[in-house]
Symmetry: C2
Subunit: 221 residues, 2 copies
């Protein structure tokens, strides 16, 4: 457990950390570094109805589910957010997230603007949410990164650029914005945001009791 995660004085409610960015802005690298260095942060594994791809593992990359099961879960309120993207459902299961937050464990979400919008607009999740949008330093850098996956046709690159432009149009719905010019600096910046947000008054659940004790002199003067 790292020093900044645990407060020895009173319990803290976990936070929901959302990182969004256009593909090619470095989000995956930043997420991996965060999870590697912060034992109090866990990744939320989404449910999806899309087919498993080679190399993916059920329960690790996604929980793979059929459409009927997914729809039943929606009806039961089992997702805190879900979206239908390019013919497939994606959703975040409610129960593991709520359990982690109660235990003071922070949860990292790899969701796009649609999912973030649902968490931001929902009064039940807003207070737990910390949302960060990651931008590339320039269009050229973004295009370079999107081209690096070689053998792509111009059409594929153009469609990726359009998707990135669409995602970026939602930057103003996020709490923080980081321009990822340098991975090490961006990781340090996200870590500072996590450290700061853990110190927010409203997450420190037994604070009132702690302060009341401080205000009562222990010894007779």
């Amino acid at each position: 457990m790292n020093k900044s995660a645990k407060n020895p004085f009173f319990a803290r409610r976990g936070l929901m950390l959302v990182l969004s960015s256009p593909s090619g802005a470095g989000k995956t690298t930043i997420s991996r570094a965060l999870l590697q260095h912060d034992p109090n942060l866990v990744l939320s594994v989404s449910y999806t109805t899309r087919p498993m791809r080679p190399g993916e593992r059920d329960g690790v990359d996604y929980h793979f589910a059929d459409e009927a099961t997914f729809k039943t879960t929606i009806e039961k309120g089992g997702f805190i957010e879900h979206a239908f993207v390019f013919g497939h459902y994606y959703g975040t299961p409610r129960e593991p997230v709520e359990r982690a937050l109660r235990q003071g464990i922070d949860v990292l979400f790899d969701i796009d603007w649609q999912g973030t919008q649902q968490l931001t607009q929902n009064a039940l999740t807003r207070a737990d949410l910390v949302s960060i949008f990651i931008l590339p330093p320039s269009t050229d850098v973004l295009e370079e990164r999107l081209r690096r996956r070689a053998q792509d046709t111009e059409d594929v690159v153009r469609s990726r650029m359009a998707k990135a432009a669409d995602e970026m149009s939602h930057y103003a719905e996020y709490d923080y914005v980081i321009v990822n010019d340098d991975i090490a600096r961006s990781v340090a910046h996200v870590q500072a945001i996590v450290t700061a947000e853990r110190l927010r008054r409203h997450r420190q659940v037994d604070l009132r009791e702690f302060v009341e004790k401080l205000r009562t002199p222990q010894r007779s003067l």
Copy 2:
């Protein structure tokens, strides 16, 4: 200029950093360390009508003013907050703070709950404000620190404890709460809060223009 203070991509509006705590919780030590290590942070010097004490310098510790001048300045709206405490006026001059914020310089305030309440309730300053309340780890530690200034009578110590209890009753009006058990850790925590708050979307003033450019492909594909 340290790395985290300046964003090379677009301008940022400065923030107003308020540290409050009961006397004896370590605020002065933390403030000094912050100012020493952060060239983008400056201390706001208050005006006061109380007499200068030995060792104090006009314009450094306070701007010393007579009551008539102070009251005229209040009437002209020259203070962003002011209070009357134990027979003397204290106030924060508006102009130097607004100039610093426009220039992207962050300003540290050493004010109590009364001043903080005014900045929190004022719609014109709320968005710039970042408020941190520093608590001692226990009543015993607080009392020890208040007793350290030797030769004090029990009456003086009792009155200081009562004043500390009064100040602490306002912790819930602050954005962040830090329990100062270890000075180095507390300084690091305040620095993380400053780094994080500098990355808040709403402080990044030219962000919209920057994103619009990113969304427009530079080269023809």
